[in-house]
């Protein structure tokens, strides 16, 4: 890689890093106190995973002067973040949102659209010129993005039966779903060497990172008021 390419890659990962740091620090200030919901703490930890992944990726590019296309630890950051988002939605929130009523069945099924879209975005990567190792790494990332996207979409469309939990955080759930979608698109664009598209997705992702935690704070504050 030339110095210019290195600087460009560092610049764009830097943009993602700064926005993720903003969200992470804001989340720590707002949610890491006694009595604050574990759901919000887990989401903040997810943002922390993004921060660490981008720090690693920037340093690796800066030190080795090349972008590692196969497996690298930075990939684990996305996987870890998705695992945190999934844990927050499935482990912490879903029991209160979905009691297993038959009337909610259609929402449960409709929510499968999100992982399906993720899968559709991934499929072309199988036929790109990237190495088999990169294809597998991308697939593993998508495997973790899929379930997280399922619950983001489910909590976006499911009606609040009586508890009033999902309505206040619908805006946040939409942003989280968009993060998962644009992350997938960015990975796809990188696999097809679509640099311009990747840059656009990076900028959109940065904006989404910045607004996610403030939106979550707004929603969660309505929980605590009830």
């Amino acid at each position: 890689m030339s110095d210019k390419e290195v600087m460009l890659a560092v610049l764009f990962y830097g943009l993602l890093l700064i926005s993720a740091i903003f969200s992470f620090v804001y989340g720590i200030i707002c949610f890491f106190k006694k009595g604050k919901p574990l759901y919000a703490q887990l989401v903040t930890c997810g943002m922390g995973c993004f921060v660490m992944a981008y720090i690693f990726q920037i340093l690796q590019i800066f030190i080795t002067k090349e972008i590692e296309t196969g497996f690298q630890v930075g990939n684990l950051g996305i996987i870890g973040a998705m695992a945190f988002f999934f844990t927050a939605s499935f482990g912490e929130l879903d029991d209160d949102v979905d009691d297993g009523y038959k009337s909610l069945r259609k929402y449960r099924l409709l929510a499968f659209i999100a992982p399906l879209v993720i899968l559709i975005i991934y499929l072309p990567s199988l036929f790109s010129s990237i190495s088999m190792q990169t294809k597998i790494v991308t697939l593993v990332q998508f495997i973790f993005i899929g379930p997280a996207a399922y619950y983001s979409f489910k909590h976006l469309i499911i009606p609040d039966v009586d508890v009033g939990i999902v309505t206040p955080i619908r805006a946040y759930n939409l942003v989280q779903l968009l993060i998962e979608l644009f992350l997938t698109l960015e990975l796809g664009a990188i696999n097809f060497n679509g640099e311009v598209m990747a840059i656009i997705f990076v900028v959109i992702l940065s904006i989404l990172f910045v607004i996610s935690i403030p939106l979550l704070k707004k929603g969660v504050s309505k929980w605590t008021r009830q």
């Binding site: 930890c45 690693f56 340093l59 030190i63 630890v73 973040a81 695992a83 482990g91």
Partner: protein, 216 residues
């Protein structure tokens, strides 16, 4: 495996094991996990040697990508086991995690001293602060998280995995930095992560002392 390092482990671990029977529960747990940390280091050094061979002795790739994964998983297993079988008490889990991390770091530093001729007091300080803190913090993060996720079964699997990935990335970033021109930054990284926690604990301690009733 190198007999010198095994001998070193025996020399440190045996007296500690013998003293275990005379200690109180908390001290016993701490010492036990310190020994366990040293054992994990000994065990994983053998595994890492095999991994290095498997990856054509590409030392940089293995230490920045593979060993952080193997080491963090090996360190997390005893903590996860303890959290699931015995207790989810946060204080206990953090204490034993720190002890395990420190045990691991002590053994690793001892191993490096034995295999490195170019040792200085400055090197020792840098290793002690850098690797010592890094290993303890990574393991403590898993311990802290286990206390959160252990109580809810639905949180457990993914939560544990997510915490492990966090520890792995932190470890890999440290390994990446210490092998580059940004070495100093690598040794500062664990200190940067440690200082806020240290200040937080001190503030908490002072607050607790102030609010505690005075007893004669």
């Amino acid at each position: 495996m190198d007999t010198t390092i095994v001998s070193l482990f025996i020399c440190i671990a045996v007296p500690l094991i013998l003293v275990l029977f005379f200690l109180e529960k908390k001290a016993k747990q701490t010492i036990l996990f310190f020994i366990l940390g040293m054992f994990v280091c000994l065990y994983i050094s053998g595994i890492n040697g095999l991994l290095l061979k498997a990856f054509n002795s590409d030392y940089f790739y293995v230490t920045t990508t593979i060993t952080p994964i193997s080491e963090e998983i090996a360190k997390a297993i005893p903590i996860i086991f303890f959290a699931y079988v015995f207790t989810s008490d946060r204080k206990t889990l953090i204490t034993i995690s720190f002890a395990l991390g420190v045990g691991f770091a002590v053994m690793e530093n001892a191993y490096l001293i034995l295999n490195n001729d170019d040792i200085s007091i400055a090197w020792a300080f840098v290793r002690a602060f850098g690797a010592g803190l890094m290993h303890s913090l990574c393991t403590a993060a898993v311990g802290y998280g286990m206390s959160l996720v252990r109580e809810r079964k639905k949180l457990a699997f993914c939560g544990t995995f997510a915490l492990l990935t966090t520890a792995i990335i932190f470890h890999a970033t440290y390994n990446l930095l210490v092998q580059s021109d940004l070495k100093v930054l690598g040794f500062i990284l664990p200190v940067i992560a440690y200082v806020p926690l240290f200040i937080f604990n001190i503030v908490k301690y002072i607050k607790n002392k102030k609010s505690a009733p005075i007893t004669k």
